[in-house]
Symmetry: C2
């Protein structure tokens, strides 16, 4: 069973560890790392670590079998390249467009979603950290 997980993975926190541990229970995990330019465009600020650094760190986690940089233009290119059996989404990752496109083009790929119980990690700790980093930037500008 091939499992795809996608995300920014900028500062590794316990929520990531939980997501990848659950992914590994489903099969061999390939992680697609969001590209610097896309994160910047979507989130409005740069990552702390570059895409290559994030790839290096995520690739060092024992739950991860393979790690690749995402396609700069189209997330779906990675799905077509990796051809997973399952795409595992984190509790906060949107799925509507993905479900539509999978239904049209790859109805054999299943979407699963991590239950919310990891919330205490990803929200409290990581968001607080990101907030602090973002606030610093504003405060210095």
């Amino acid at each position: 069973m091939k499992v795809l997980v996608a995300g920014t993975f900028d500062i590794i926190h316990p929520g990531h560890i939980y997501l990848l541990t659950e992914a590994e229970r489903l099969g061999d995990v390939t992680v697609v790392i969001a590209r610097d330019e896309n994160v910047k465009r979507i989130k409005g600020h740069a990552t702390v670590f570059t895409e290559d650094e994030r790839k290096l760190i995520v690739g060092s986690l024992r739950m991860v079998k393979d790690v690749v940089l995402g396609d700069p233009e189209d997330f779906f290119a990675s799905v077509q390249l990796i051809r997973p059996d399952i795409i595992l989404l984190g509790p906060d990752q949107g799925d509507e467009w993905l479900r539509e496109r999978l239904a049209r083009e790859h109805s054999d790929i299943r979407i699963e979603r991590l239950p919310k119980r990891v919330e205490k990690y990803s929200s409290t700790k990581a968001k607080a950290l990101f907030k602090r980093i973002t606030e610093t930037k504003e405060c210095r500008e």
Copy 2:
């Protein structure tokens, strides 16, 4: 060969990956995680992640065979418990007191030091990040 690496490992960066990869080349790696209260006392500020979170994350790295929390009172207690063949130090970790104590009590344990070439990671990226976090605190107070 048993290798001990000790540190805070608060936000995993490429310098940590390099240190642990080199440690693994020497033998089975046990990481000693610095305790929250000691980091706070020595560095003057809290970590982003708690000691248990840092332990979880470091223990998920494939180069790490075992991970333990340090002794709150005495770093040397971990050395005596783990009884490594080698203690691998990062480029910036002090060694004078350690060398003295090893010479007195465990002359069979060897100290090795990671060469400086990782500097571009640990200093530039991580220190800049920590600086930003610290500055935010000051800026908000």
